[in-house]
């Protein structure tokens, strides 16, 4: 593993790199917010498993996430999508073919990348994530308060004033980002290869279902090397089928 970095519009972020310096490379988008902490160790295990199969990978920190110096309340989905695209461009700069790997809501972040395909693990759409964040906030507040739709907007005049950040499970988030989530879905356009893998316990449709526990639900960050090996093989076969 090497610690690389990339420069985006407003600064520089770290990017972990794994595996060979040539051939196909995957760029991994971790889930947003708390789920990132719960899946980072697993993502590194996945990168190492990919490296054993001859596939390079990178995990960029995105602005407002991970070790980024950008405050979390300044993060927007669009800003993260732009930074992701720049990180992907850096990986393809030397002629490598780049594939997106999105975990959970990480699948929302690869839309602007020039990618040869997108592989999504248990992808979560923006409205579903917003519902879950609202649920966490509701559980924090208790039953005495009932959060309605767009509860994160301030509502006080003047209407054009910037709404203050809201705190959800220790993360300060901007109402703009929460508004973005109401419309964001994983990138899916015909002609662009996309593969979806989900857990067997998930009722939503997928190209493949795998038996495993959802690491992103565990408060203590866990790992699952057997699942990482299984998914790395799935990614490698899919990349080969895409001609990568």
């Amino acid at each position: 593993m090497i610690i690389d970095s990339y420069a985006w519009r407003d600064g520089r972020e770290a990017m972990l790199r794994f595996g060979p310096a040539e051939g196909p490379v995957t760029i991994i988008a971790l889930p947003l917010f708390e789920e990132a902490n719960r899946t980072r160790t697993f993502a590194v295990t996945l990168c190492r498993a990919l490296a054993r199969l001859g596939i390079g990978s990178a995990i960029p920190d995105l602005p407002g996430q991970g070790e980024s110096l950008v405050p979390s309340e300044d993060a927007t989905i669009l800003g993260m999508q732009e930074a992701y695209a720049i990180a992907a461009e850096q990986l393809t700069g030397d002629g490598r073919v780049c594939f997106g790997v999105g975990i959970r809501s990480g699948a929302l972040l690869d839309a602007l990348g020039l990618l040869a395909g997108r592989w999504h693990f248990a992808p979560q759409g923006g409205p579903d994530l917003l519902r879950e964040l609202t649920r966490i906030k509701q559980a924090e507040l208790g039953p005495a308060v009932r959060l309605g739709d767009a509860w994160y907007l301030d509502g006080s005049p003047p209407a054009e004033a910037v709404d203050p950040a809201v705190e959800i499970a220790g993360n300060r988030l901007s109402p703009d980002l929460l508004t973005e989530l109401t419309v964001k879905q994983p990138f899916d356009q015909s002609g662009n290869p996309r593969r979806i893998v989900r857990l067997s316990s998930d009722q939503k449709p997928a190209d493949r279902k795998v038996d495993a526990a959802p690491l992103w639900r565990r408060a203590e960050p866990g790992d699952d090397p057997a699942l990482a090996a299984l998914l790395a093989e799935d990614i490698a076969q899919w990349i080969a089928s895409c001609g990568g």
Partner: protein, 90 residues
């Protein structure tokens, strides 16, 4: 595969609690109707409550409205199971 019988729902609810609260199989197998959950399990904080509800939705193919969620439904294993059965077997 849709979950549509009582045994499957029982198994799914136990699996959700195991996965979200990081409990072992032996512990969740011992849960009875009267086993207290919210307030009795320190693992069941606000994030875990949201996780339990969302996982139940994903695994049972149901939609839980916010106004259906109250403290009582998470008070005991039996209350949660009854809620899940009512939603999934409608």
């Amino acid at each position: 595969m849709p979950v549509d019988d009582a045994d499957q729902i029982d198994a799914a609810v136990r699996a959700v609690l195991r996965d979200v609260l990081a409990l072992d199989d032996a512990r969740v197998a011992q849960f009875r109707e009267a086993t207290p959950l919210f307030g009795a399990l320190p693992e069941l904080d606000s994030m875990a409550v949201a996780g339990v509800l969302t996982e139940l939705e994903d695994r049972l193919g149901i939609l839980i409205e916010d106004d259906e969620v109250d403290g009582e439904m998470l008070e005991t294993f039996g209350a949660l199971l009854t809620f899940a059965r009512q939603k999934a077997l409608l």
